[in-house]
Each structure stands twice: as C-alpha cells, then as structure tokens.
C-alpha cells in the first residue's frame, strides 16, 4: 500500500481532479467519488474507529462508530479474532458514511458483506472462518477466563476483508468476556460429580442454575460463566465424553443418581439458596432436565429447555437411566443429505422414542420456558415442544409453559452475538459433518431475543417471589 503525499491543492485543482476521478471510478466501481481523501480539507483529525465499551461481556451490545471521515463515502468495517484453537475468524460490512462524516453501526445500514441492514452486532455474529481454514469449524470458547480479542478496522471503499489495495483508515481493539469481574470459577470433582461452578461476586447466597449441553459431550462452560456474570450461581455439568467421568467416553455411564447428586451439590452449597435452583438444558440436555424434574423428582424452581426432546431413543442399560452408546442406538434414525452430511433430527422425533424412557411429563410443576429454533436440523424441536405443551395443558398446567419459537433459527441457540454454525465437524473418525440448521440473521436475532427472555424468566422465577 503506497501513500501519495501531494502538496495542498486549490479547490479548482481538486474539482478538475474529481472530474478525472469520476471517469476513473466509473471504471472501478469500488472507489467512491471524492472519497479517496484520507484527511479531507474540512477535518483536523484523522479517521477514528471506536467500540464502546471496549471491554464488554459477550452478551452485551456495544456501539461501534467511525468518525472524522469524509461524508457520503463508502467504507468497510472489518472484525477478526482468533479462536482458542488458533483459527482466524473474520467479518466485514459495507457502509456509506453520513453527512457528518460518521458511521454508527447502531443506527446505520450495511449494504453488503457479512450481513445487511441495521445490525449493531453483526460483525460478531457474522464472523466466519477465514478462507483456507479447516472445514466444519464452530466457534466455542474453551477458556472462559480470557476474553476474545477482536481486532477491528475501518477500510476505505467497499472491499472484502483484507484486499491488498485496501486503505486502512483506523483500527480499534475490543475485548469480549464471558466472565464479569469478580466472578469465580471453580473446578468441581466431588461425590463423583464432574463440572465447573461459577459464582457471582458478592456475599451471596445466590440463586443457581444447573447447566447441561447435548451429545457433543465434554464440559462447556461459557453459558454458565455468563449466567454467573448476571448474578446466578451456575454449574456446567459434564455427563458424557469427559475424562473424569467413569467408563468409556463413547457411552453415557452415569445415571439418575448422578444427576440427583449434581442438583444436591448446588442445594448444599453455602453460597446458594437451596430453594432457588433451576435447570437449563440444550439438545439432549433437555431430556435430562425433564428427567430430573419429572422422574428423579428434584425440586427445581424453573426449567429452561432449548431445542431438545421429551424422550430418548437411547436404550436404557439399567433402571438408573444409564444408556448405550449414542451412535449405536441412534444410527437407524440418521438421515444424510446429498453432501453426505448427517442430520440427527429424527432421533428426537417423538414417534421414535423408546417407550421405556417415557417420562411422566405431567409431573412437572414449576415454570418451564421452551425455546424452539424452527429450522432445527438436529432435533425435532417443534414436535417435542408440541408434546410438552399438550401434556401440560391436559393436566391443567398450561400456565407453567412459555414457548419461544424462532423462524430461521437452528439447533444451537446459544448466548447472543456469537456466530451460528449451520453445520460443523461431528466426528474425526470417520470424518463426519452434521447439520445444525439456522440462517445467520434470524438465528442471531433468536439468540439475542431468547437470551434476554431467559434472563427475565430467571429474574422472575429465581429472584422474584411467586407468592408473598
């Protein structure tokens, strides 16, 4: 990138240059009219890009602004970050600056790039793996104690990411955190229970949430970290595919007693209010949530179920709820698309459930929020929501049920402002990709709306008082 430094020009010379330039720009549509000027004659400051607050939580909206730019000129805002695994993710959007030489992502419209329209957080949920990346990536933070460091830049013209000729006008760095200051993270290996506990700052005691993910296994902490940052003690529970759990990592080797212990662990904790513990589950975590509330009989204050089944196809190995391997039990319900990608949706089709696993859903007696992504390709979300709703209605408990249903949203409805993975790598041996579903903009909107409603629901049911 070269910069030509010219001596100051008179207005006349600029005008004639513009005429030439307009002719040139009709050949090169990427360049705007007078917009080649970096520090225009009306300004005494170089362009500035700001993101405020510069250090924010992952679920916080921030305001991204460009200032001291020439008016009515094309600019591109870019973002990039490195995942914990070292993969580069990036996004960009095309704007035209306002008459006052500003661009404000909270109010202005993108006319091209990773997203369109007015999307204040589009640079974050619109992130994609950089060209040349490994296939089937999904952005998930493993280390929640460090932030994502996002490098943003403001480029001249409407360009795509890092074109060689693009002129960088300004840069900014912003940090996105899963843990608010003062949130404490504790590894829990107690009474056989494997998980990570997050405690909010302050004296407590706090209401709490037990947090479970799906058959991807392992121990995902980021949702719990955020819940703690919002004032709830939160416990990410491992139940499958974790080295500290008993047995082979390809089967679920824990049963009802395990989940009961996990819930009891929270109730017994001196910084947690025993009568204010709820459960949140996604995917297979929903089945576990319902099993705990309806079958094992833990006294949960509220339940949040995201895109999951009310039953299970997995064969129960023993009465304690231990299951056979996921792949063995479920393979007959897998479907493949023309690319060979697998959809797990039919596994959770209510007609396919193992009747031995049927839960007495009518036993549920606490408020229940059910989140559905209508483009869920990994679970039969709508059908299961219907079963749940009908069951509660039939037992006179419709007032307990709240459904949030999002067109265009996929399976992985997670805390907001992180990119959706429409599909991702499921298994390395043999290499398999699975389809989750969801389209970028509606999925992002679903995440934002659902999270806000989830937090309100928790505020009402874990902090508020149902009866005086």
């Amino acid at each position: 990138m070269s910069r030509n430094t010219l001596r100051p020009l008179t207005v006349k010379m600029i005008t004639s240059l513009l005429r030439v330039h307009r002719k040139l720009s009709s050949l090169n549509p990427a360049v705007g009219a007078v917009c080649g000027v970096r520090w225009s004659s009306g300004l005494n400051r170089p362009p500035l890009l700001s993101a405020a607050p510069a250090r924010a939580l992952m679920d916080e909206q921030i305001i991204i602004k460009g200032r001291f730019l020439p008016p009515h000129c094309p600019v591109t805002v870019c973002a990039q970050l490195h995942s914990d695994d070292g993969d580069l993710w990036q996004s960009f959007a095309h704007y035209n600056t306002n008459a006052d030489g500003t661009v404000n992502l909270a109010s202005d419209h993108s006319v091209g790039g990773s997203y369109l329209g007015c999307e204040p957080m589009g640079l974050f949920w619109g992130l994609e793996p950089a060209p040349g990346s490994r296939e089937g990536l999904r952005l998930r933070k493993k280390n929640v104690e460090t932030p994502y460091v996002v490098h943003m830049s403001l480029l001249e013209g409407h360009v795509s990411q890092r074109e060689e000729q693009s002129v960088e006008l300004a840069v900014a760095t912003t940090e996105r955190w899963y843990m608010a200051p003062g949130v404490k993270r504790k590894d829990i290996r107690q009474n056989g229970v494997v998980g990570t506990l997050f405690l909010p700052p302050g004296p407590g005691p706090f209401p709490a949430m037990l947090d479970m993910w799906g058959m991807g296994g392992g121990l995902m902490e980021y949702r719990s970290a955020l819940l703690a940052s919002r004032g709830y003690a939160a416990f990410s529970l491992a139940y499958f595919g974790h080295k500290d759990l008993p047995g082979p990592q390809t089967t679920i080797n824990v049963g009802d007693a395990y989940f009961k212990s996990a819930f009891q662990f929270l109730q017994d904790h001196h910084q947690i209010c025993a009568n204010r513990v709820g459960i949140i589950g996604l995917s297979f975590g929903v089945y576990l949530t319902l099993r705990m509330a309806a079958h094992i009989g833990v006294k949960a204050s509220c339940l949040i179920c995201i895109n999951g089944p009310v039953g299970s196809v997995l064969d129960l190995v023993d009465a304690d709820g231990r299951c056979t391997a996921f792949e063995e039990s479920s393979q007959k319900h897998w479907s493949f698309d023309e690319r060979g990608y697998v959809s797990f949706r039919d596994i959770s089709s209510p007609g396919n459930f193992n009747p031995e696993n049927k839960l007495k859903l009518e036993n549920i007696s606490c408020p229940l929020m059910w989140v559905v992504g209508e483009d869920d390709m990994s679970a039969s979300s709508i059908e299961n929501a219907d079963v749940m709703e009908e069951t509660l209605k039939a037992s006179g408990k419709a007032h307990l049920f709240t459904r949030l249903s999002y067109p265009g949203a996929g399976h992985l409805i997670e805390p907001p402002y992180s990119p959706n993975a429409r599909l991702s790598l499921w298994s390395i041996k043999p290499v398999k990709f699975t389809i989750w579903g969801g389209y970028p903009a509606p999925h992002a909107a679903a995440q934002e709306d659902a999270w806000r409603k989830i937090l309100d629901f928790l505020d009402t049911n874990l902090r508020g008082f149902g009866q005086s």
Partner: protein
C-alpha cells in the same frame, strides 16, 4: 429489616422485608470494565421505595493499603438509586457525583497516615468493589452487604502495547496505540521523586498517542555512574520517538509535571534538536538558571532552603523556595522564544511549587515578547500540586523522598478534594483536546490522496 427469603433453609437470599413485600436489591455498574478516565453508572434497583442505603467502594492498593469511599442515598418511588443522577446526602462525598466513589476514596480508618495512591503496574486493572449496605452507615468492618460487584479500571485500552526502552542508555517505557500508526508522540515526564512512572503514558496511548514515559532522575545510567543526565538525554528520548517507525516524527509533544515542567520548558525553549508541536506544563515553573545542567537546576531546588515552611501538622511546604519570581532573565527560561503552543495547568492551592505565580510571569513574558497567542492557561481554585488524570483519590499531603535525599518527609501538596477532583477531570479533558488539536493540526501534515487516484 433484613430477613431471610425462605424458611428452614441454610442459606437465604439477602433481601429486605418492608411493607409485607420482599425486595432483593440489585446492584450494577456499567461498564464494569473501563478506562481509568471513563465514567461509569452505578445503579441500585429493586429496593423498597424510600429505602435508606449506603453505596460503598473499596480498593486494595498494590502497596497493601485499603481505600474506601461511600455515599448515603434514599431510594425513590421505584426503588431505584442512580449515582449519576441522585444526591448523596452524606459520606465521603455529597450531592450528585457520578464518580464520587472513586475520587473521594480515602485510606480506611486505622491506616498509616500520608498515603498516596499510585498504580505502578499498569498492565493490570485497578479493582474496586462496589457494595450496597442497608441504612446510612459510616463503619463497614462488621457489616454485611446486600449486594456487591467488582469493577475494573484500566490504564491500558485493549490493543495498547507496552514496550520497555533501554537503548541509548534511556530508561523509559513506550506505549503504542493499537494499529500500524504512525501516531503522534508525547514525551512524558514526572517530577522530583524520580522513578519510571507509566500510568499517564499508558492512558495517553489509550487515546491514540504514542507516549514515552521517561525516567530522567533515577535512570539506570545515573544509578550506575552516579551522574545525573544532561540535555542530550532528553534529546535522545525525543530522537527515539522521532525515528520510531510507528511515530509521526514531525508531531511530537512534551509534557511534564512539577520538576518535569522545568525540564519541558528548558527543552522547548532552548533545544536545537527538539522541534515540539506543543508542550503541556503542569504544576511547575519556568524558574531555572539558563544554560545550567540538569544537575545544577535540580540542586537549585534546595529542599533544605530556609524558605521551606512547615505547616501546623508538620508538613513540608516548598512553595516559597523558588520565590520571589526572579527579574534576572538569566534565571528564567525565556518563554518569549517559544514557537509552539503551550498549555499551562496550575492549582491555586499548590503548596509545593509556586506554579500560579510562575504562570503569571510566563504570561507577562510572552505578552511582552508577542507570542502569548501560543499560551493557554488553566488555573484552578482550591486545587493542589498533584494534578493527575481523573477519578483517583486526591492526596493533600503524603510521604515523599526527593531524589538525592535520604529523608522521607511528609510533603504538603495542597488542594481541597472536591475542587481538586473537578480540576483533574477538566484539566485532563482539555489536555487531550489540546494535544489532539496541536498534534493533528493540518499545518503539520499534508493532505494525502490514496493510490486509487
């Protein structure tokens, strides 16, 4: 009336019962991570209407001391207190003071006297615990909070780089804003206590300036050789900035506080090497023997001078040491020769340096010489010597060991806390504006066109 929320449980949520309703007070601070000079909003919600509460801040400093501040509030009809909008009716500050919980911090009861807050490690944030207590409290040792959050205050914005500099015998730290640059540069000097003090430079870099914090009284070369630096040390620092690939060589400013002002004016007026775009001089003076070495000037500020006064509380007042303002031109930097804009910041209650008197004389000299259009003078009533970036505790007197002395004295800096804190906020904002105006000025840079043309 603090009561448990449920019954027969071991751990109850800490709530307040009033009028047959239970209220669980919610406390939030936005943003929870911010720069040291950024405002925050402290919000209490869900309290009973009319509820009396104390909002309290607590900080454990690097040197092991505890600082606290607090305000007394009453919740409105919606059960809310917003520190940015509501009145504190008592505590360490009163009235509507959005940042009172920071600038009115003071050592907790029982602390050693004469402490000064200074963060020397700028790579970690200042952590402040903000809590809500029931009632209007003044003692917090055995109290239990209703709610509590932790707030981080940073000197370095994300992406700012900290680079220790040791080349050419310099003892310095360079702070660079994120990005390729080039950035305008600032040479940043503190005063007679010496050391390498980084926090102002770190903040300047967070605002887009490449800033070099320079230790010029206790650099390694002086500790090794026993000899104080000479003019060329500052010129070397200037050249380091000028030649740095990420610094705009033609846009460099110099900033000094206290003795740092003496040096800044010396260089700004007399150096043939340094071509400064502007200078900022805080709490200092132009009084110095012309053509003297740094050491000669330093010695001149004889801390045992008979003009030293002692206050009733045994605090050392060095205000009179340079007075009266000399009439001999050989004893003052010839500010009439300045060719760059000068921002002078003085506190009218400065007990350590005759800064206001010097400022007056500087103004007269520049008026006589015809370059007073370059001068901006900010003079703050009831403000002391240590005019620093805002929202940190004001220190009226503290223990101080000037370079070259073995005595740890208690030095009176001056200033009344409320006025001084307001002055810091105003002066910092104006300093940044002054730097931007003079370091981004059009006459110092060409209009550039891109290669698209």
């Amino acid at each position: 009336m603090l009561e448990p929320a449920g019954s027969n449980q071991s751990a109850q949520m800490r709530c307040v019962r009033m009028d047959k309703k239970k209220h669980c007070v919610k406390l939030s601070v936005q943003p929870s991570r911010a720069l040291m000079d950024e405002k925050f909003i402290v919000l209490v919600q869900n309290a009973p209407p009319g509820f009396q509460m104390t909002i309290h801040s607590l900080h454990h400093s690097e040197d092991g001391h505890s600082w606290e501040a607090f305000g007394h509030y009453t919740a409105d009809a919606t059960g809310t207190v917003n520190v940015s909008q509501d009145h504190s009716v008592g505590g360490t500050y009163s009235g509507v003071e959005p940042m009172g919980l920071l600038w009115s911090l003071r050592p907790v009861p029982g602390s050693k006297p004469h402490l000064r807050f200074r963060k020397m490690n700028v790579q970690t944030p200042m952590e402040v615990t903000i809590s809500v207590y029931q009632g209007h409290q003044t003692v917090f040792v055995d109290q239990v909070q209703l709610a509590s959050v932790l707030v981080e205050r940073w000197y370095m914005a994300p992406g700012v780089r900290r680079i220790p500099v040791t080349e050419s015998n310099l003892t310095a730290t360079l702070f660079l804003p994120p990005g390729p640059g080039p950035f305008p540069g600032v040479l940043d000097l503190w005063g007679g206590g010496g050391q390498l003090v980084e926090y102002r430079s770190a903040l300047l870099a967070s605002h887009g300036f490449a800033s070099l914090a320079l230790d010029y009284l206790t650099p390694k070369i002086t500790l090794k050789t026993g000899k104080m630096v000479e003019n060329d040390y500052f010129e070397t620092a200037y050249k380091f900035l000028q030649q740095h690939p990420q610094v705009s060589g033609s846009r460099i400013a110099m900033m000094g506080l206290s003795f740092g002002t003496t040096m800044t004016l010396k260089m700004a007026v007399y150096s043939e090497v340094m071509k400064l775009s502007c200078a900022v001089c805080i709490s200092g003076s132009h009084i110095q023997p012309v053509n003297a070495t740094v050491e000669e000037i330093f010695i001149m500020f004889d801390t045992k001078s008979e003009k030293t006064r002692i206050s009733e509380e045994n605090e050392v007042i060095w205000h009179d040491v340079v007075l009266p303002v000399p009439t001999d031109p050989g004893m003052k930097a010839d500010v009439g020769r300045l060719q760059c804009p000068l921002l002078l910041i003085v506190g009218e209650d400065d007990q350590n340096w005759a800064a206001p008197e010097s400022a007056q004389d500087i103004k007269e000299m520049m008026e006589q010489a015809g370059n007073s259009h370059l001068l901006t003078l900010l003079s703050y009533a009831n403000t002391g010597h240590l005019i620093e970036p805002p929202y940190t505790p004001h220190t009226r007197a503290s223990r101080f060991k000037p370079v070259g002395s073995n005595e740890l004295l208690v030095v009176l800096w001056g200033g009344e806390t409320v006025a001084h804190s307001r002055a810091q906020e105003d002066a910092w904002r104006k300093t940044l504006a002054f730097l931007r105006e003079n370091l981004y000025s059009r006459k110092n840079s060409a209009v550039t066109f891109t290669s698209h043309l």
